[in-house]
Structure formats: C-alpha cells, structure tokens
Symmetry: C2
Subunit: 201 residues, 2 copies
C-alpha cells in the first residue's frame, strides 16, 4: 500500500528537470546544435546520468516534444466552452506564441533522419500528435461551418498554416529588433494569420 519510494520520487523529479533543460535548449538552439553535454551542464549532473533516463538524445527530444504537445492540448481543452471555434483557434495560436516568447517551446523537428524515425516510432509522440491534429482539425471544420473561416480552402491546408504560424521566424526576428512590446507582436502576428495582410474593404 505504499506509494513510490523516496528515491523513485527523486528520480522522477530529476527526470523532469532534465526535460526542462532539454526543452529550453531545444527552443534555444534546435535539435542539431543541442548537445548532451549542454543538457548535463544545465541540469548540473554528469552526462552519463542522462542515459539512465533516456536511451538516446532522440528519445530525450521526443519526451520534450510530448510534454509540450500535452501542455498545448491541455491549454486548448481548458478554454471556456462558450468560446467560438475560431476564437479558440486564435487563443491557441496566441498561447503558443506567448510560450515561445517565454522561452520554453522547442522548435519543429530538424531534418535529422534519426530524430524523425525516433519520433515516429514513439507511441506517446504519435499519439499526442494524432490527438492534437484531431482537435485542431475539428475546430477548423466547425469554424468553417459557422462561416467564420474560409470555405474555399481545404481544411487541411488551413490547419497546417496555423501550425506553421506557431513557429513563425518573424517572431524571433522582430523581438531581436526590440522595437515592439511582446504583447503587440503577438497580437500583430495573430491578426496577420487570421485576417491577412490585405486591407479589408
């Protein structure tokens, strides 16, 4: 009837710290440039420890991606039910952009073949991706039926356009310039994504 032992709890806590550090480094440098030494140094442990938790760099990155995906899903599901589908989509995009500005959002998988295969063979990752895709696609279709999103473009194309806005490089670039407040930047990018660049008649 006992819970997990103290050591097991410590192990879990440390694993979380490792994923935290990986998350940060992935957001900062991307998968290719992040090294296991970086992660170890950030956590303050030896490199060998990392391999007691994760069998490879790829699986560590996968764990970080899974945690982010679950967080994003939770953020979407926590939105008030009375909110319209299109407003939920805008809120979701806003959430991811704010998370990126806060510094904790890993970038999209690099072209690394080993990472790709590792992700695609991870049940947790493909499951999270699958669920996320279902939720977003559902929202888009709902918004189209409500007449809030365009009906002349396939839903799948709109879904992937929204995904790509979450990692819009313009965000980092404009933030570096330092000429805009973070909140304004997010508002601008969300507005451009949904309302476009063209002046409304």
């Amino acid at each position: 009837m006992e819970g997990p032992s103290f050591k097991e709890q410590q192990f879990k806590v440390r694993e979380n710290l490792i994923v935290d550090a990986a998350n940060q480094l992935l957001a900062d440098k991307g998968f290719d440039l992040m090294t296991m030494d970086d992660v170890a140094a950030a956590v303050g442990v030896s490199k060998g420890i990392l391999y007691k938790h994760f069998p490879s760099k790829e699986s560590l990155a996968a764990a970080a991606m899974v945690r982010v995906l679950r967080g994003a899903l939770g953020a979407i599901e926590a939105l008030p039910p009375e909110m319209s589908a299109v407003e939920k989509l805008k809120a979701a995009l806003r959430w991811t952009l704010e998370s990126r500005l806060a510094g904790g959002l890993p970038l999209l998988p690099s072209g690394s073949a080993s990472l790709q295969t590792s992700l695609m063979t991870s049940m947790e990752y493909v499951g999270a991706i699958f669920r996320m895709n279902g939720v977003v696609t559902g929202l888009v279709e709902q918004a189209v039926r409500a007449g809030d999103l365009r009906g002349d473009i396939p839903a799948e194309v709109m879904v992937h356009s929204i995904y790509s806005r979450t990692c819009d490089p313009a965000l980092d670039f404009l933030r570096r310039g330092g000429r805009y407040a973070d909140a304004d930047l997010v508002a601008h990018l969300v507005s451009i994504a949904f309302d476009g660049l063209t002046a409304r008649s």
Copy 2:
C-alpha cells in the same frame, strides 16, 4: 586583350556546379546536416577541392544564399512596371514558393553561431540582404499608401511576415501528403498569406 584562360573558365564553371550542389543540399537538409562530403560527392570531386574555392563550409553556404538573393531580386525587378505594389509582392512570394517546389531554395540560416557571424561579415551577403530589404519595404509602404495593404500594422512586421511565408513549413508538409497539385498549393498559401484564414464578409 585576351579573355580569361581556359582553365580560369573551367574554374568558374566548377565553382558554379559546387554552389548548385550546395544549394540543393541546403534546400534538402539544411546547413547543419549538410556535410562537405555530401557536396563533394554531389559534384563528383574530392573534398579538398571545395576548399580551393571556399575557405569554409560557412562561406560556401553564404555564396549559395547570395546567389539566391540576387536571383530573387532579379525576379522582382523583372516584373512589369505597370503592376501594382501588392501584386508585385504576391508575385514575389509565388516565385519563391515555386522555386522551393522546384527544389532549389536554401532554407533560412540555422541557429549555428558560426554561420550567422560568417554571413554577417560577408559584404556580398549583407549587401544583398540590404537591397532586398529596401525593395520589399518600399513595395509594402507603397501598397499601404495605395490602400491595398493594412495600415494598422507596422510595415516592418508585414515585411517579415512575408519573408517567413517564403519558408513556410506547411508547403513541404502538404506536398508530402500528395493530395494537392503544386499550383493549387502555391495559390492557397499566397491567398492565406494576403487574405488570411478568416472568411471575408
């Protein structure tokens, strides 16, 4: 009164082939994953030769980027003068997306610090970037004055949003799915970039 010798011409021709191959590989795998062995194998020469032409991997990538930037500038300047500014911007975006589909457009610089510094210390690269930025910014401002682009968003933000659309990951992803003709895909993405996802009233 003689032109360049035969060997000098050969040298230039080979250099072009090298940049071609680098271009292709950069578009395919990105800077981090492209190796000098890849380039050498693609050209069909030994690796050492590459260093007779370019002192480093970074400078080779910079040369590829410069050529692309000049090509893009040329494409913009070749547009008919009677075309409106906003139509020119759309045409430019269309041109880059089509170039990417054709397989020959290097992706944006990876986070690699050495590449960044190498690019920023290359007079040719910063010059090309500077000119490109001037042309695009000028077109955006012109389109705003004409009432074709939104006036409630800073021009700089719109400029960088257009840049980021040229490397929209949705293009590769949707093409992989194979459900859409290339031309439709380009048209959809250009339309989403300028007209947005929201239904027009």
